[in-house]
Symmetry: C2
Subunit: 415 residues, 2 copies
């Protein structure tokens, strides 16, 4: 289905059915979807192979091909993810803050699904299943627009989802798939605020900028992570080193990996050589400011652009700073307001860092790699919001709902 | 100051100071602002008179002139509103949901200001003070763009705010005023997402549409209210009548006033004549569907457009419906998802209405006129959000903040 208005209208109409679906019925479907994914793994792999072959012909990088590739193991992981969502509490219907007002009105809020959610993402086909399953459990209809490189894989996954919906007697239109690389369809969807309640773009700068400037409905951005570790003069340097290495190399290609390390000048002379030794062992390239290059001869110079860059690679920018003020200023100026950590034994500076760094997740004495729905206790996440409104940081099931006001009266009128 | 980038940059820089300001200092300023507004009332009135004169010459309607006009009484009300905010708890810094994870990390959220907020509004000059004071208390810097009709009044109010900031030794750049009717400045501000965190447009369809389609930062819309009352077959008709009259006439020019009444067909024959009598006494014009015109001879016909219309006037659209399903469908299709009420003594239908009407505030047996920050116990409000994300319905001090994650560790790294 590739007519934007028709996709929007059918999805929104189907949403009203999903919004009021009992939790048990939603869970039964998720279990059936888990089973179908396992059962149809050979079919998924066959379709995925077409994408891999086409990707090779198009000359995709090996990193991109790796993100595109499904294996038996990955399909099992995807199916297990769906099953895990069964165990998570249904956020829909949760009532909060009920209070009796002097006029007798009983007023509170109730969680409701957001509605119809458009998700635009790039190569990884497992997002198709993950994102759909989370939206489904939280009562939202989903319109999926995946990367064109994964078209065959996504078609196969959507077919399995729709067939399973059918076998569970659920309206198949609660999920729509934009089955065309034609950008004008996406553009029209982004203007269909009468049918689509929220759009979640997950991807790089170009996609995020395009969606933000085009959409007429609310956007919750899942944008880049330019994350920092600040090594304070009162840091336990052994701990600082272990945290820095973890934040950089444990999984460099993800948004919560560290991209820049800031080191207070009084400890730079001692800490930076240790850092270089450790990073050398992990094949991390350092790019430094002038002061750090005076200590670490031979590393290349960081340019102004480096401070803004999400490398997603074994590269680390290094800057020596005067102290906490300059560190906070650097993070707020060049960072992406994602995840940042201070390493210190000083109480006052730790608390100031938490207050004054304007990021979704601010840490004391820990690796930024923990910014994640599961690690934060949300169970699962649809992504990491880099926006400040609605959901900041990991976005779980509850963040896929909104609070509506419910008011119980017995004839009250306003004086 | 009318250079958008400069306004954005200076306001954002000043915000970092405001974000960490102690509550006591913010409250001292608000008291000083209250006093200054009372003291400088003659100056405000003088400048307001210029706007009124210009408005008359431009041929503004008397309703618009009334919204534009300040009086001694209104200035006192505005000042009292500022003082009321002193008593409200400061939402900044409130910690929530702290939990110890198995790995020893202590993880929770902390409320922080949103940042720099652009507020675009229309004629009423009191919004300048109300909106600024609420943003200030919640630690947000404000960029105000008011209607050009109120330019002199707004200039006077901003001068008083800035002078008071100066006398309290607070950076004056925490508030900026766009002192030009030149739309290109607004357009450039709406593209300055590096400096502005959120935009709140308050106004009519044209403004909302323009801002939503132009802004590159998140938008929280305060849009129209096409509010409904549904009179169920099990309604107490006496109560239904009193609620309907209140919802329509108590203050017809506001967004939570009723615009359409839906009446179940079995009670329409009895209820509609009573409704017409009551509405006639209040000079309310009725516009009806075919079935209601068969009962109420002589009322004019409602067109398809009427169902979508926010009259803000003594006009009421009337439709006879088969029952709850059609009522819910009508409200979700034609309404603006603002405030809607069911009048019924039937428990099941009351609960279904709360669940299935997709609106910010859903009522049982009460007037929609209660949708308001003070009535809902929020203390004060900057407006009524018609968006689903972040803040739905009345938006108070807490909704002017966001939750950032704070994580206390002692050396944790991710395995």
């Amino acid at each position: 289905m590739n007519n934007a208005k028709e996709i929007g209208k059918l999805t929104k109409e189907a949403w009203y059915e999903l919004a009021k679906m009992p939790t048990a019925k939603k869970n039964d479907f998720l279990i059936a979807l888990h089973d179908a994914l396992i059962r149809d793994a050979p079919y998924i792999l066959e379709e995925n192979e077409k994408d891999i072959t086409a990707g090779r012909e198009k000359g995709l990088t090996s990193a991109l091909l790796d993100r595109l590739r499904l294996t038996d193991e990955r399909i099992k992981g995807m199916a297990a993810g769906v099953k895990d969502i069964v165990a998570l509490p249904d956020p829909v219907g949760k009532v909060d803050g009920m209070k009796k007002m002097p006029n007798g009105l009983l007023i509170g809020t109730k969680r409701a699904p957001l509605g119809s959610i458009l998700i635009i993402y790039e190569a990884r086909p497992n997002v198709t299943v993950d994102a759909f399953a989370l939206c489904f459990k939280s009562g939202n209809a989903t319109i999926l627009k995946g990367g064109s490189e994964a078209l065959n894989s996504n078609r196969a996954l959507i077919k399995i989802i729709k067939d399973t919906l059918g076998s569970c007697s659920i309206n198949k239109n609660i999920v729509s798939f934009v089955d065309t690389p034609d950008r004008s369809v996406v553009e029209e969807l982004l203007k269909s605020n009468e049918y689509i309640d929220v759009v979640i773009p997950r991807g790089g700068e170009g996609l995020i900028r395009y969606v933000s400037s085009t959409a007429s409905m609310p956007v919750i951005k899942h944008y880049k992570g330019v994350c920092h570790t600040y090594v304070d003069e009162k840091a336990d340097l052994k701990s600082a080193l272990s945290i820095a290495v973890n934040a950089k190399v444990q999984r460099p290609g993800v948004c919560n990996a560290m991209e820049t390390i800031l080191v207070q000048k009084d400890v730079a002379g001692k800490f930076l050589p240790q850092l270089k030794d450790a990073m050398d062992k992990e094949d991390v390239e350092l790019r430094g400011c002038e002061a750090s290059r005076a200590i670490l001869q031979g590393i290349s110079a960081a340019t102004e652009d480096d401070w803004y860059t999400e490398y997603l690679d074994l590269i680390l920018a290094v800057r020596v700073v005067d102290g906490l003020d300059q560190a906070i200023d650097h993070i707020n100026t060049y960072g992406s307001h994602h995840s940042d950590s201070i390493i210190t034994e000083d109480y006052e500076r730790a608390m100031r860092f938490l207050d004054e760094v304007d990021s979704a997740a601010v840490y004391v004495n820990a690796s930024t790699r923990f910014t994640d729905g599961a690690e934060f206790g949300l169970g699962a996440e649809i992504g990491i919001s880099t926006d400040k409104i609605h959901a900041r940081g990991p976005m779980g099931l509850e963040e896929l709902t909104c609070a509506k006001w419910i008011i119980f009266g017995n004839g009250q009128i306003r004086e």
